[in-house]
């Protein structure tokens, strides 16, 4: 078991960084220093000046006197680069934490501020109104939007995992002519801008097909979850194929052979042996797909008419607080926070699964 923080958190490596730093300071007090700047903090300087026997030392003293705090810090850093790396780590960590977390903090502040007092919110809300989190469900049926989003994301994830598993099996475990060109084709398609597909797809989904009438009523896919699940599955499929190809390709052939001799078909071996052993990969592909579909804007916005009963996702729900004369910013903020919660929970759970899956699969070979 390795803790990922071990490699990134400098506070976890006192054995390497700290002693060298402190021992360097100790030495400068005890031994004749090589760097004259070392003498100053512990008051060694006057004694040093009283020697005054060589011009070299004088020159060193002059240079030292010219140094300000910044130059001092640079000199120390050259002597002891670990300090710089540590400082850089903290700067970078704080920067990323602020840029990622501050918007959420500010969103929370906006959500907690009562309506009509939304000016000049910086670090604290103007008032305290947790009722906004209840109000979002009263003004519009936001829970329906959430449910829609959830169903669409889940359905897309299932479609992606099933199809990408089959593709990943073929690409990862079978030798066939044209494997590499096909793989490249998948890669190329994944780089197409989704907007390029939109107009033909929208046209297609608004076309009435007789055979769809029993399912969708009017025979079109517009305003049904299929209008979102189909294109979004396709768009996020290549990434899942790549992830699963890598994982399935690593399962030893012997295990699949064993399963087939024992009584499964190739497909059975895929579902009974290869997928369970690739759980971390499947979880990764699934979580990434779920989040990507859940967060998707373009198709989600355009493939339904925005009504909750027509499978409009969260996006439309949040925008629904924006009326013609009034924008309920505090409700939009509250709804945004509520919308993030399922994904946040999913990531926390899945992360644990991914880590445990990675350490559990000890294969011989």
């Amino acid at each position: 078991m390795t803790d990922p923080r071990d490699t990134t958190d400098p506070t976890d490596r006192p054995n390497t960084a700290e002693p060298s730093a402190t021992s360097g300071i100790d030495e400068s007090g005890a031994d004749p220093p090589r760097d004259p700047t070392r003498r100053r903090p512990d008051g060694g300087e006057p004694a040093r000046g009283s020697d005054g026997d060589t011009s070299l030392l004088k020159e060193g003293r002059d240079a030292e006197l010219d140094r300000g705090p910044f130059q001092q810090w640079v000199a120390d850093s050259i002597e002891n680069p670990d300090r710089v790396y540590r400082a850089m780590f903290y700067v970078a960590a704080v920067f990323f934490l602020v840029t990622t977390l501050f918007p959420f903090y500010w969103l929370l502040m906006v959500a907690l501020t009562p309506e009509g007092q939304l000016e000049n919110i910086v670090f604290t809300p103007n008032g305290f109104n947790p009722g906004a989190f209840v109000e979002v469900f009263q003004v519009i049926p936001f829970h329906v939007y959430m449910f829609n989003s959830f169903v669409i994301a889940l359905a897309s994830t299932i479609v992606v995992l099933v199809v990408a598993s089959l593709a990943g099996y073929a690409f990862g475990r079978l030798e066939f002519p044209g494997r590499t060109p096909l793989m490249l084709l998948v890669l190329v398609i994944s780089f197409f801008p989704p907007a390029a597909f939109f107009i033909p797809l929208n046209d297609l989904f608004n076309t009435s097909f007789v055979f769809l009438e029993p399912i969708t009523g009017d025979g079109t896919l517009y305003n049904t979850p299929f209008a979102l699940v189909t294109p979004l599955s396709a768009i996020f499929m290549p990434l899942a194929i790549f992830i699963l190809t890598t994982f399935y390709g690593q399962i030893p052939d012997g295990l699949e052979d064993a399963a087939r001799v024992e009584g499964t078909t190739r497909l059975g071996a895929l579902f009974r042996v290869i997928i369970p052993l690739s759980a971390p990969g499947v979880a990764t592909a699934g979580v990434l797909t779920f989040i990507a579909v859940y967060n998707e804007f373009f198709f989600s916005f355009l493939m339904t008419d925005g009504q909750p009963e027509n499978w409009a996702p969260i996006l439309d729900g949040i925008l629904a607080y924006q009326g013609q004369y009034q924008v309920l910013y505090h409700l939009m903020a509250a709804a945004s926070i509520l919308g993030v919660i399922p994904v946040a929970i999913l990531v926390v759970i899945a992360q644990e699964k991914i880590v445990s899956g990675l350490t559990a699969g000890a294969l011989k070979e």
């Binding site: 030893p252 012997g254 295990l255 052979d257 064993a258 399963a259 087939r260 001799v261 024992e262 009584g263 499964t264 078909t265 059975g268 042996v273 369970p276 052993l277 559990a360 699969g361 000890a362 294969l363 011989k364 070979e365």
Partner: protein
């Protein structure tokens, strides 16, 4: 249990031919070992029987059924793998019962049969462990239990002991033999280890370059190899080969001549290249050779290196000065060297000049060009004329 028959099985991967025209039959209840060097096609041959590889040409029969086009699961075979191939995400019970559960046996029947199989391979009380918690030998026993629990017609074992340490390997060898006797099963066993092949099998099938070289009882392969490859492959250390030329009254090599009548060898005539093969234990020091009824003329040699193995001593003999310092050559094939094995109480030292003789009844002759065996034994008890009562070569 059932017979297994391969008819002209050929497997090609693009230009490469892995198995070429192999035909053989494994009798009901027989233990047949496929043996050969790495890449000789023995594993591929077995995979065609298992159904994991589709032969390019040829048919495969198990019992009376043509199984060539059947999926592995429908062939009634069970397989034990070199890399053990236990499912790491299942415990021992689930591993052993995997095939039974797929076939929808009821739970009670599954449990009864799993426990029975675990008994046979002595895994009682370990059914709830995970494979990763077991030693290599235990894991392979689970692999064997997984194979026997389904009561298959044919067991296929693909180097099942190769990943085990030496001591465990010898132990598992006897266990597998016991198992074969208990189950009275048809077993096809693949190995590159000829000790396993010799000790366990009813018959061994020697393969090289995708071709079947010989299929016969282990001792037949040892005593009457059909060609140079089998002669060199079976037996450890391997047979000495000395290339020579047939002359009017015998076989002349660089350093010695063996009397024989070339007219007794129908396939070759005077002037043809013939390779003499003799096993290290059939080379004798002249002073200990009194018991031999029929030996060759003395061959002068100098001992080079001694390798005491405990139960015997291997002596590397240099037949001529030219051979000195040419140790990079394999002594078994070098024309100027012979490998001799003697009992440990023999008085012999390195660098000693000795005379040796070969046991004529154990000399093998091969046609150098084709490698085919010409004669096994030059025994001639009725007179000095060699070859008057020849031992017929095994075809």
């Amino acid at each position: 249990m059932a017979r297994v028959r391969l008819e002209n099985v050929t497997k090609r991967y693009g230009e490469e031919t892995a198995v070429e025209d192999v035909s053989l039959e494994v009798e009901d209840g027989e233990f047949v070992t496929f043996v050969g060097p790495s890449g000789c096609g023995k594993s591929t041959t077995m995979e065609t029987v298992a159904g994991l590889t589709q032969p390019t040409e040829g048919r495969i029969y198990i019992g009376d059924d043509d199984v060539t086009d059947l999926a592995p699961k429908d062939r009634g075979v069970a397989m034990v793998f070199q890399n053990i191939a236990l499912f790491p995400h299942m415990d021992v019970y689930e591993n052993i019962s995997f095939g039974l559960r797929l076939r929808k046996y009821d739970d009670e029947e599954v449990r009864r049969r799993v426990e029975e199989a675990a008994d046979i391979v002595q895994l009682e009380g370990m059914l709830d462990r995970m494979p990763s918690e077991m030693s290599g030998g235990q894991q392979q026993r689970v692999g064997i239990a997984r194979a026997i629990v389904r009561n298959p017609d044919v067991f296929l074992m693909d180097e099942p002991l190769a990943n085990l340490d030496a001591k465990l390997r010898v132990h598992m060898r006897t266990e597998l033999q016991r198992l074969h006797r208990e189950l009275d099963a048809t077993v096809i066993y693949v190995t590159h280890d000829q000790a396993e092949a010799m000790t366990m099998s009813n018959r061994i099938a020697v393969l090289n370059d995708g071709r079947l070289q010989q299929i016969a009882a282990p001792l037949t392969c040892y005593n009457e190899p059909t060609n140079l490859f089998v002669a060199g492959f079976i037996g450890s250390p391997s047979m000495n080969f000395v290339e020579g030329t047939l002359v009017e009254d015998g076989l002349e090599t660089n350093n010695f001549t063996v009397d024989l009548d070339p007219s007794q060898l129908s396939e070759v005539g005077v002037g043809d290249a013939v390779t003499l093969g003799v096993r290290p234990e059939d080379v004798h020091l002249t002073r200990y050779a009194d018991s031999l009824t029929d030996s060759t003329a003395r061959i002068g040699a100098r001992t080079d290196v001694l390798e005491p193995m405990g139960d015997e001593v291997f002596v590397y003999l240099l037949l001529s000065e030219a051979a000195a310092g040419s140790m990079e050559q394999d002594p078994a094939t070098s024309p100027n060297q012979l490998l001799m094995s003697v009992t440990p109480d023999t008085e012999i030292e390195a660098g000693e000049d000795v005379d040796v003789v070969l046991d004529r009844s154990k000399i093998h002759l091969f046609e150098t060009a084709s490698g085919d065996a010409l004669r096994h034994g030059l025994t001639d008890r009725s007179g000095r004329e060699p070859g008057t009562t020849p031992t017929e070569a095994d075809s």
